[in-house]
Symmetry: C4
Subunit: 191 residues, 4 copies
């Protein structure tokens, strides 16, 4: 269990860099179709609307995960290498989100695509919950004075998104549109 | 409203990383045509001149936005999560600039392309202005001793580019060349 | 031999950034086949299983190298430019690992592919060992009070993976499957 | 002329990130030919030898530029925004080096390719020299106690590579091989 500040800073820095790269790589999917003609640019730019939407959504999703990472890490004081490993597991999920989003965009109404996206989001949420649970168990890596209530509250808030996404995997088999709607429940919890 | 230094540093760091990735990805567009022959390399390298020009322009545009981000953030002392969210919105615009530039390069004299570029630049500028306005309103996130005059001056300077770009969207419908010329007005303000 | 903190921080930072980019670029290989039909998405997503596996493995391998880099650098106190150069050599190996993994994935049972992967891993491990050996020789760049036993232990642990991988290059000529199995020996040492 | 530490740190950090991305993107050029057959992997991996060589060379060239950036920036104490702008100009050259290298690799014995590479390297070197000259002129951004001799020595060392590359542009017209050989003169100066 290390307390060295530089060591913890490197972990945070490394996470930030992965988040930043994953979020910026999203822009690589913004592309005019190769066969665009000079006189149809305007039309083609408008036809890309779903691509802009998907770019914005993914950017916001990864952005929110980064904000959440930022928020939870403010309570971390020490680290051990299992903690680092779980954090890398979380980053592995984050770096895969652009792929999950592109699947959802290309086949937005297909049940498999919706279920796949929900699965990825569920895994990401579980990783985050595990990271937080591991860090706070018996105040392992957080400050002693962090109140038990606050720890529990943050655990619950971390747990809600993956639970909703898990439920929506089954729902997607019945109706992809309903499953997507259910994701809105997460927003309701936080606002 | 947090004052923790590491928290603010992470926000700045994350922004820098997104800027750095967006600016470096520009170089991915520098490519020899696939069908280059051994004996026409020299000619092909010269024919890429518009690509070099566009690379340099985009690099400078994103670079200037980074300098401006750097400049404005020197006055930020605290943060809250709405501020972080607006900043992510700004980064979303920045990361999309390479796409906007590539559209402008490919169809440089087409009114839709010019208008689209102006639209992106306008959104980026508005985001920056919003970020600054939010931070300085009632000295929310800046130092109390920052003079009201300076805040107002910086707000005005932030507002000029998006206003010019907004006007140039209409202008582009009449004449793309004129619209591009009008962008020069921004430079006049700053030098 | 410099002791300036910022200088050392930049070296660490630069390394972290290269690790982060290499690890995030892995996700670029996650792609649905171009000819996916609307009604076979589910099937296609399942057929990508080897790609997910390879993504996870590569992520973990580079992640472990980063953890190890993090662990060893905690003992570094100073730097000179030969140390920086060896570190860049190590980063050169790290940045090439995604390529080595993609070779192994595409031809997973082919002896050349297995031998090539083992060769890359061996070079990476040797670079890391060299870096550590250079830094600790006569306490060149580490703290005087770091015990000789600990230095030796860390050298030995750094040396085991490249030795196993070197042996597995020969083994791969006889049996690629056996060579891959032998890599498991590394895990045995560390757990 | 600012002295704020965070401001200077951000400039250094941003530069490091651009260097790190440019250097890591080099690995994207390592690719097996698309038509590789299962039974020719070994042969194909060997046939990629020029690609490995070019990867290593580019990695070393950008790495050396980073080391040099690291070395020169140790003397910088303050910054102004013209300094930041010149630094962005230098980064623009750095981010273009992977393209220059790929041109040189694909047409290694063609005079235009050699001249183009020399031109890029010359521009990069001149940018670095300009940055240093600007920072040290009348001790503008460096510590007063930095000796004039040291400043001059570092200026001269910064100036040698661009001068050699400039001369080699003309030489490349006569003999590309001779031009490449002349680049070795730079190494002679530094070792």
């Amino acid at each position: 269990m290390k307390r060295d500040k530089l060591g913890l800073d490197r972990i945070i820095f490394f996470s930030d860099a992965v988040f930043a790269i994953a979020i910026t790589l999203l822009s690589l999917d913004l592309r005019l179709p190769a066969n665009t003609q000079q006189d149809s640019v305007g039309y083609d730019l408008i036809r890309l609307l779903p691509e802009y939407q998907s770019y914005a959504t993914s950017f916001i999703v990864i952005g929110l995960y980064w904000i959440s990472h930022h928020h939870y890490f403010r309570f971390i004081r020490r680290y051990d290498y299992l903690f680092v490993a779980i954090n890398i597991g979380l980053l592995m999920c984050i770096a895969a989100l652009p792929f999950a989003t592109s699947v959802l965009d290309t086949y937005s109404n297909h049940r498999s695509a919706v279920a796949f996206y929900a699965l990825c989001m569920m895994l990401t949420g579980l990783m985050k919950t595990w990271l937080w649970h591991y860090a706070t168990q018996n105040f392992r890596l957080v400050h002693r004075r962090l109140s038990v209530q606050r720890i529990r509250l943050l655990t619950q808030r971390a747990l809600i998104p993956p639970l909703v996404f898990a439920a929506s995997i089954g729902l997607a088999m019945l109706s992809p549109a309903l499953a997507k709607l259910s994701w809105g429940a997460i927003a309701l919890v936080f606002f």
